[in-house]
Amino acid sequence: MKDITSLEKKLSGLEEQLKKYREVLLANLVMIGEIPAPTSDENRRVKFILNRFDEAGLTDSSIDGSGNGIGVLSGKDNSEAILINAHADTIFSAKIDHTMQVSSNSITGPGVADNSLGLAALVTLPYILEDMEVELNRDLVLLAGVKSLGRGNLEGIHFFLDNNPFTIKGAICIEGMQLGRLSYSSIGMLRGEITCRVPESYDWSRFGDASAILTLNEVINKINDIHLPKRPRTSIVMGSIVGGTSFNTIARDATLGFEVRSESQEVVERAGETINDIVLEVSSKTGDQVELDIFAKRTPGGIPYSHPLTKCARSVMETLDIEPRLAPSTSELSALIDKNIPALTLGLTMGERTSKTNETIQIEPIYKGLAQLIGTILAVDGGYCE
């Protein structure tokens, strides 16, 4: 590994220099954030992003077969590439108000952190690098990936990784928050829904003793009783519940959204099998339809803590006074890991109320977050991470 000290010197003062791009970055953030982009309906947002790539003079920008927006900033030697990825979709429906509100030190709006800020950094990066006269050795491939979240199940980035013409030497995924986040490994994961339905032919004269919610409650109790090991670390997140229609009608259907996460693939699979058994058991006991739909899986993996890429990112963070917070990820990082591409996920600023319509990010830490991103790109580009 090359000595990174010379690069660290370059980074001093970068944070301050980046302040002059405030308006351009924040205008991109607001304009991207105000275009709704629920998973599988990111088209308008991606078109806007492409437009920005075109304006920045990225001649090879295009929308691929899956709908991903791709921009390429050519390097001096274009035989190898660095991939920067930000997912383009949000968890918010197009029906909700996507207005962004800008105050002196923060910006509030649905999806502002997850992931409008990541996308804003992605589209502003070519503008900043050109203005700062930074010329990279490798191609910088900028990917606004679609169909990433929930049922999207990373479809966009999978398509890109299967079909792109580049030799990707390293990848950085960017997320709005939190600054300091450093993910370099993926944990095992299984994501699904359990739906309970009271059958159409149900005898309604059996007053009050049938409800899809009660049946789902039975399922939930049983899942809660599953014994999980302390090591390898494992958890089951019961993240959402939807069911019924009003106060006084028996609920005809109810759905639980859940995720099993573990450091061990075997434990994830075992928990998945147990949940399947629970579903069959409750269904036969109650006579209700109970269905399990598993639509996303990840296998654990990643680069080690001592990998040169992780080391580089840590020293860039230390130089900028950012305390690294190590956390595994189940997002796009795992798609890159599956392809054996050394990859990291970085956060850009501090914020709060994540996943709420009043999600808020702080403006001031963004410069540090951007300096960290540019520093890591320069480290990968300069061959410090090999």
Binding site: V24, A27, V102, S103, S104
Partner: protein
Amino acid sequence: MSNLQSWINKNTYHHSEFWDLMKLVEAKKKKNLTISLCLPTLNEEKTIGKEIIIFRSELMERYPLIDEIAVIDSGSEDNTLEVAKNYGADTYLASDILPNLEPKRGKGENLWKAIYQLKGDIIVYVDADISNIHPRFVYGLVAPLIHREEVKYVKAFYDRPLAFSGNVRASGGGRVTEILVRPLFSLFFPDLTAMIQPLSGEYAVRREVLEQIAFPIGYGVETSHLIDVYHKYGLEAFAQTDLDKRVHENKPTQALGKMAFGILQTFIKRARALGVIEKAEHETILRQFQARQDQYEQNLIEIVEEERPPMIEIEEYRKKFKK
């Protein structure tokens, strides 16, 4: 085709015609023009930051179309001025400009004082309460002034049918426009009915015109501008640009009543001064707007208010009731 229809065809634009900002900036440079953006404010902390960020980024840093952004405030009690200053706008309290004059409070006052305070050959006014702000709110309005020297005053209108079946649809302005201003213009200044939204708060104007017209300080400012510019320079001085959708808070009917009252005062003052009051007796055509795909056309409706005399004057009536 009537003269008015040919004016509409020639002087009505859609902002998308001016998307090429590079070309617009070149044309502006060639004509050696300077452009100032004025945002009149009163308690607008929720929207002002975003407006300034977007205009500065898109129309100053990326494409140098505007030369200054100024917020002229009527005395906000919230953080409007602090937020505006933080994002690099020049901020002024209206009462600090021309301090020797007796201060008045109203949006028109801020617009008027901008002429003194700002430097541009063109001043573009944009309300600060627009939540879906976009650079088109500025470039869509200044572009006709840059490209055509005879145009002096460009007004915004907002027309964006999201779903419409059929060939022809109604178009035009808000409630006060359609109930008050359009009928008044149809009676007294039929040419001015060619403006699709005469009351819109966004417009770009040449300094040489602004310095020549009076400014009501309240609700009547837009109406008076149209009448005065029309009187001095004729309809050819105007153009209008469709800026698509504008999202802002809707006003309750009572507030519209106040607005209508202010407009009516301004209107009567001008109609009297210009001696057009008698005209009302001859005009019987109400001119509304409709759109056929992308073409705007006037819909002329003849409304003749005939009257019957008091019943007592009818002989048959008097006979029947022995009067």
